[in-house]
Symmetry: C3
Subunit: 258 residues, 3 copies
């Protein structure tokens, strides 16, 4: 973990423009606020370019995407590419329907993401590898390192594949992460909020592999730390504890894990 | 309560496709995850049919319905009917405006719901019985058993009428339920989440009256159990405690109520 | 603080129709329920007029506004003006993009708000005063009393300018408020929920300056009270504690502050 990444986020409070799904907007905004960033979540296609141009980073998450959203996402992503700020693409449930597959293809034709983040089923779909999925969940098994590598090569990007083991694959190297907690799977949008945390970390001046690994590693530590709180008795109390934990220093989070 | 219903949900983790209102999406998804199901909440009309076809059950909730949503709901409901999976219809605030009344009529012309769930004011409206309402709340009084029966006959469905006493009326019999807690009335979407829990229970192979009663009875028990937690001091702490409680075994919930 | 305002809200349970942003709908509804009001959040332009006509007050919040929303807001605001019920306008992030500036201008041409509520950057924009903003946040400094006064004169309304010090400016007088807590800035929609609480207080028969000051003063007290709860360790636990606190008596909230 590169502590400089966390420090810079908290010093600069990067403004992240989110075009994300309606299920997780509130949780994502509160999670990013706790971590140290500043969320904005404008939706209208008329202001997508302008709002992204004001931001330090952009998150595109297709969880509840409609045709109007696709256009707004492309405009926001293009503005980010023009300005040279990071774009995270989270192709939620891309394998579930052809509408989603087409939407992601449309976006990827017009926007170059800095990071593509998803579970194994989502990233496998992007490189035409068969994988078992259920709605927006990945339930298949296979060579996740290979999937991540293929995504990084095909899209010339950094792939962040989340799961029990997370794989970060830049165009040059692979890093694995083992932090995390089973309760995250019981919280809707746990993956979506990570996309926002990633976008914030990508606004710092550390190397991309440090930015991505720090985001993913810190996120998993925060989950373990939160779950260890004696007040946590299920996903409801965990959500509150996890939002709290995202504001902690990395050292504090680590102290409880050992 | 038929414990087999809860057991089967937790074993099979049914995928419920939600076309529901924007106020309650996050709470509903977390509630269903805690209970043991898997939520998906795609909105686009282009994928409504496909997503419902992948699911084990469908929830249609009109709380913030727009014209585009009506079409998506009909497509999802029809896909569910074709596949033979359960459909729950929650006609939130149907009596409030003619737009809602028309929307529900349009849906009911095209989709056959397995369960229609609502408060007394909503169900009374569906059978043209006068009832006092306030926004999306029911504040009138009258013969709720009769209302539920009329809905079950008119729509050849199971009616679940929620209130201080809940009435479950299949086409053949009536069951009443008394579990619940006043704090549920202070949580937005408490009724909406019950629709999702109902949909999950309807995916099991128990008789419909067992499925519906178990969902409603368990839900009320979970509310009482959650409210008894000493950490609960209002609706904010109750929400967290209630989400936690939805993951408990029925026996655990019952132990605290006596 | 005029205790009669709180008492009347809790006795009458005013129905507030919200046309508000998707990030904060759930939090706002639960906050208003805890405080003592009744939320409704219909979105469709087809029912905007009808739903507002059934309500006791209307909140217009442009946080995630789209073109369709602008029309619905105008219809709801006009219905409220015709019926003589209060309208609160919250021009979230109005300075960020020309789309927002135009949207607010369109609304203000057709609707007369009882209160315009916003941070310094938002209200400064409405009176063409330069101010530094970042996304939907105000980060500039300047004469906030003058900004509030200008808004009240230009729009012949009551301006509520929120910040470390809050300014309430009716067309006749200025009141300042100092209650509040830094954790509010870590909760998305803290300002948005205040708009809803304001709308509820405006339905009472107290003078406008009492209604507005009571809403703002009570809200800040609730935040301090909530933050003093030993369970609060960050924004997640604060959200739950704050929702709880909104249901308390003013005397209870004050007892902890000293």
């Amino acid at each position: 973990m590169n502590l400089e990444v966390i420090k810079q986020v908290r010093k600069n409070v990067p403004l992240i423009h989110h075009l994300t799904n309606q299920v997780v907007m509130n949780f994502t905004a509160n999670g990013l606020l706790s971590f140290g960033g500043a969320p904005v979540m404008a939706k209208a296609e008329e202001e997508a370019h302008n709002m992204a141009s004001l931001a330090d980073g952009v998150l595109l998450n297709i969880g509840t995407i409609t045709r109007a959203d696709i256009k707004a996402m492309i405009l926001a992503g293009q503005a980010a590419n023009q300005k040279g700020i990071p774009v995270v693409l989270d192709p939620v449930g891309v394998a579930a329907t052809s509408f989603r597959t087409d939407a992601v293809n449309e976006i990827l034709k017009e926007v170059k993401p800095t990071v593509i983040k998803g579970n194994a089923g989502e990233l496998a779909n992007l490189v035409d590898t068969p994988w078992e999925t259920k709605g927006v969940e990945s339930i298949g098994e296979g060579n996740i390192a290979e999937i991540a590598e293929k995504v990084s090569i095909k899209y010339q990007t950094t792939a962040v594949l989340t799961g029990k083991t997370d794989i970060i694959h830049t165009t040059k190297e692979r890093i694995t992460n083992e932090t995390g907690h089973p309760l995250l799977a019981k919280v809707t949008g746990a993956g979506c909020l990570l996309g926002s945390i990633l976008a914030a970390c990508l606004t710092t001046d550390a190397p991309i592999e440090d930015q991505a690994y720090t985001a993913v590693h810190f996120y998993g530590l925060a989950a373990s730390y939160a779950a260890a709180n004696p007040s946590v008795q299920g996903n409801g109390t965990f959500i509150a504890s996890f939002l709290d934990a995202l504001s902690r220093d990395p050292g504090t989070l680590e102290s409880v894990i050992t």
